[in-house]
Point group: C2
Chain length 397, copies 2
Amino acid sequence: MKTQKATRKQTKFHNQRLILKTIYIYDRISRADVARATHLTRPTVSGAVAELIEEGLVEEVGQGQSEGGKPPILLSVADDARHLIGIDLAEGEFRGGIVDLRGRVVAHASLPVEDLNGSLALEQVYALLDTLVAATSRPLLGIGIGAPGLIDARHGLVRYAVNLDWQNLALRDLLTTRYALPVYVANDCHVAALGEYTFGLHPITSNLIVIKVGRGIAAGIVLNGHLYYGDGSGAGEIGHVRVVEEGIQCQCGHIGCLETVASARAIVKQAQLLVQEDTHSALHSLAATVDAINLNTVYHAWQAGDAAVQALVETAGRHLGRAVANLIGALNIHQIVLAGDLTCFGDALLIPIREEMQLRAMEPLAAKTQINLSQLAGDIVIQGAAALLLANELGLV
Amino acid sequence: MKTQKATRKQTKFHNQRLILKTIYIYDRISRADVARATHLTRPTVSGAVAELIEEGLVEEVGQGQSEGGKPPILLSVADDARHLIGIDLAEGEFRGGIVDLRGRVVAHASLPVEDLNGSLALEQVYALLDTLVAATSRPLLGIGIGAPGLIDARHGLVRYAVNLDWQNLALRDLLTTRYALPVYVANDCHVAALGEYTFGLHPITSNLIVIKVGRGIAAGIVLNGHLYYGDGSGAGEIGHVRVVEEGIQCQCGHIGCLETVASARAIVKQAQLLVQEDTHSALHSLAATVDAINLNTVYHAWQAGDAAVQALVETAGRHLGRAVANLIGALNIHQIVLAGDLTCFGDALLIPIREEMQLRAMEPLAAKTQINLSQLAGDIVIQGAAALLLANELGLV
């Protein structure tokens, strides 16, 4: 039960955030138009704007159209008033960026983590953050982290991240202590969805699903403008739902999971089998050994028109289409975005997904569902982690 | 974007609802304890309570434990201060009830609708409501309706209800005009979830899924204490997601939908086939003709230990278990409740569902998911429709 009363202090905080958000969304807007848009009084708006200018978050950027009298001064959020650090604890490599208030990544850094796990992996997180913190030229708003596995975002706790061998790691508290900055931690696919929602080029909507298909597969879900985590931080863990009866063993212990047939890892494995079976495959000329075949090799064989490789991509798309149909049945969200490494195949992946979705979900719901590729590319988790910070610290999502 | 400022009037409204909700939840509570629970001042609480007593919603019900001085007077919500009408526009029969503020159905009424649709079906809704309105002995809070199909709850619009042959029917507006009462309309499975959430005996939770398995199959989803409808009012339409490859044709036009293998209609159909194939079936002695076999016959054959019928129930459970695994992958909600006609099979249905769910969804998520039978039985939609009204008119959900 909510037992929070509305106090004057909360009202002031609420109104100030509302004003900042209005200026952020409209980009260039006069005080009078802020008052009109928010239904707040002019003195309330002027007072709050004075404070926001004082804090450097808002600046006056010129004059608007006159409505008869003196032309009004336009306000804008100073995009580089704060820097945000966004981190993507991706498999194989920890990646980070310095991000401005509009989600632009102004600097990148990364460190390999190939076989590191446990406390050694944590040391790499520190090393990456040390580099990024030292590289910022603006006041730091804080740190956002997208981490793999089951992440309790409320407590900043990595409950379970298999590859990093982290269990119940209080990552937020460790980083808050070390850097004396606000820190937010959430699942990488969850923050990817928030990144797409905040900085992506999709129609205005309050619900959004982002399916990230890389080495693994999972979805992030934005509901009513907020990230939805699920009761056990596992919302969107579609990669470990069975889609193939009598399928192959998954890392998770079950059989026939979506990840075993539609992830980048699965496609690479299937391509390796293909090379052993088919001496005509374009893969032969692209990789010296079977083990040297990776997603990049597969991509080039696909581009070269190798029919067997094209069939692999199509089959992956069909399996993803099943997962999409399940998501439509559960959530009926009209905007679905595909992110992650497999988006390199573009329409070759999208078209079978769309076809299966139409066949497998209720017709009037599937007909209105749009599924497209993310425009954020490889920085989606970095930008998403920054968006998580932006939402929590400034209410700007 | 939210552009709603916090005003004094809103604050007063918010606080009054908070106080009523606190008294409703605690059941018997003193003014001092309401102030403690809500962090509101004693004068604010006393003022609001005086108004609630004036309106008849709250009453003084005796004395509590003394904390040293005079024992405090206890407050309680007067359960019969208002009557609510809840309607279930079920297939074959429209059912309604007069419901008190605690969700107890104090009177029932129903009308057959076998072959009626279009405006004739609407006339039956009027007839049922006329009966119920005339039968109330308390001030009526309003009318809640659970209707089949895609229902735009925000506008009270029946977008699409196949069996009733209603399309874009402005049911809320028609009823508001006719009865001059607040009216809320939503999908029957959606309101069933709200009913279970509000009046059911489940652990305190803010997220809940109710899967209703009757002639059709669909789920209702409560997220963060509120019904989740989906972008096109189709959240939880799991009955029309494919679960069987090369399956049979569904009414919806697709093949292999969950409804074709796990609904009451599907089980009855399969039992009818069974009778034609198996001369030893217990169904023979229970039904004079194949067409006379209904869910009741199937239930009695199942009770009599007919192995083939038992297998039908188990198979339906296994298919439902797939759908549950999909829901876990999408939503990771720990509390799932099964409602509808098929709950008559109890554990025979639940056990295969639980087994499949464990095999088919991510282990740590499935392990924490509870799936149980609703205790609300046949009135779940009536009570849910009343809960929808209660939530919207008094904030009591």
